[in-house]
Symmetry: C2
Subunit: 335 residues, 2 copies
DNA sequence: CTGTTAGCGCATTCAG
DNA sequence: CTGAATGCGCTAACAG
């Protein structure tokens, strides 16, 4: 199977009758190589199909021209963001490397681990997706998207307006006549989850509707962790007439639980989500949700990062907050 | 900004009062370290927040425990696949690295370039997404998903049943009474595109409906390349009553063009796609399409790869073909 | 049990 | 203009 153990610089050098140093110069476009040698080396490179090894190169030079997107796992949120980054990176000459250590469920500190493995070697800068804790002392420029800690950190951040978005969601339910509204919250350690809960409470308070604390649960943002709380909510003696789930994945889970329980959505219970990942439109029924401009957030994060990469340490405390909007589909009905 | 230039193994060694070799042994769980030293080194590692550098490690050892997914760019097709791989990898202890060189539009040979940069150093095995040409002489195990060349290659492949899927799509249009059906094909260099065209022609022939060659265009699978041909098609003196677009992205583009032209979908023209990426449900109107089991394809590719990684060179000529199905939404109507 | 010695593939001085 | 030497951070022999 290992017919060709990979062609390395030494192979090219030998074939072209020059030294590795010369090949290196050609590859990196350094001056000090005659036209003839240049051509010849290039020809051999093409023939042998040589490519510089990312790993080896990064060990010596501090420039790899690769930007890393670090995620806990590839789920709808991070992949949507990735598309935005990918689109935006086309205008630059950076390459994209998305990495996921095996940390499903987002064990605290995964981003530090991943960053440690890649930073200082493979990537010039990193976009951290939903990091639980933002490292202050990183060696490379970092931008955080939807971070745990909110705006108080030293690194630039990009996030959606979670507070207003949650208020909008709750107001929508309220405007439909719902009063007994449940909140299936996110991970309590995430700033976004806290803001969404706060928005929920603000909207309820503004409408002078008391919050029944029994209807406030934590769904952990993931299907596995949301299923239990959703079931509890829907099987309460006096169940809610509407559920605001803090993200689409738990909203979809809630609808699945309802279906299993023989309850109709939105007949028996209305459900609204948050994020507007593509999956939400595929759900049954199509999910009404709060749109988060995921592509734009990814593109913005990339712009910020590239700016830092180019212009040294500018805008260290930039915090971009992008607006959300209501997407009405079929999972909410008037009471 | 570079407060801490990254903590390396030597730092840990110094802080723990041992040599780097010992630290390496501890990190890699090698035998030959006393319990006490082990503990102490581990403690220092935790304190300093050390992580082994992927780049440096891969240079020396041939095992990185990382699997690479190589894509031309992060668009809906590849990211859906990525989700499937990500889900399946959870059951293993591999980490996931998705890489995109900057080759939008899929310049021929991008996969060789990317493979060259990562193989032999950073990753133990690779999943190639829609490679244009499959390298025979790679140094690491490789699985191709939806390859250009079809099943004739030496590497294992995973793909959807493009032929039957295309037939299904065409038959659906036919069953709705359409006769003047256009094909907005894919990239002519891709096997999948060829099979979809073949399926289209077979279904037309089976229904004894002649194909008007003026209605067969190449849309290149991408929005930018599909827009022109789609416009031509819809502005023909005698336009088609239905369009079979070879993938969802070009189908969505077709619907956008129609909207811009003031034509209603499906009122004036029916549109059917291929892939069933999540975006297709979000389109206006929701796109009727052929579902490709993207998640499952990703998971299957990973299983194949892990199998090769474990059990040396087994199943070199495995070719998995997964079934497609029709997803009816709102972009097709009876004539 | 631990430290010392070699490189892995590449980019960079610095001589020739 | 070119090549030989050096070291990036780490692991794999071996030596103590």
């Amino acid at each position: 199977m290992q017919a060709s153990p990979r062609v390395k610089m030494a192979d090219v050098a030998k074939a072209a009758g020059v030294s590795v140093a010369t090949v290196s110069k050609v590859v990196n476009g350094r001056y000090g190589v005659s036209e003839a040698t240049h051509e010849r080396v290039l020809a051999v490179i093409g023939e042998l199909g040589y490519e510089t090894s990312l790993g080896a190169r990064s060990l010596r030079s501090l420039q790899t021209n690769v930007i890393g997107v670090l995620v806990a796992e590839f789920e709808p949120f991070s992949t949507e963001l990735l598309k935005g980054v990918s689109d935006a990176i086309a205008a630059t000459d950076y390459e994209l490397l998305a990495y996921s250590g095996g940390h499903r469920g987002g064990a605290v500190g995964w981003e530090r681990r991943s960053l440690g493995r890649l930073a200082g070697s493979l990537i010039d800068g990193a976009i951290l997706v939903t990091p639980t804790v933002v490292e202050t002392g990183t060696s490379i420029p970092v931008v955080a998207v939807d971070p745990h800690t909110g705006d108080t950190t030293a690194v630039p951040t990009v996030e959606a307006d979670n507070l207003v978005g949650a208020r909008t969601a709750t107001e929508h339910l309220l405007s439909l006549g719902h009063r007994r509204i449940a909140l299936l919250g996110g991970r309590p350690d995430l700033e976004s989850a806290r803001l969404r809960e706060q928005g929920f409470r603000e909207a309820m308070a503004a409408a002078a509707v008391p919050v029944d604390e029994e209807l406030v649960r934590s769904g952990g943002y993931r299907p596995e962790t949301a299923e239990g709380p959703a079931t509890e909510l829907l099987t309460l003696p006096e169940p809610p007439t509407a559920v605001f789930a803090a993200n689409d994945l738990s909203a979809i889970t809630t609808m699945e639980v309802a279906a299993r329980l023989g309850q109709s959505v939105p007949g028996d219970v209305s459900v609204i989500g948050f994020d507007n990942v593509p999956e939400s439109a595929l759900a049954t029924p199509p999910l009404t949700t709060i749109q988060q401009p995921l592509h734009q957030m990814g593109a913005t994060a990339l712009d910020l990062l590239v700016g830092m990469l180019r212009g040294a340490a500018e805008g260290r405390a930039t915090h971009v907050r992008l607006p959300t909007s209501l997407v009405e589909r079929a999972s909410c009905a008037p009471l």
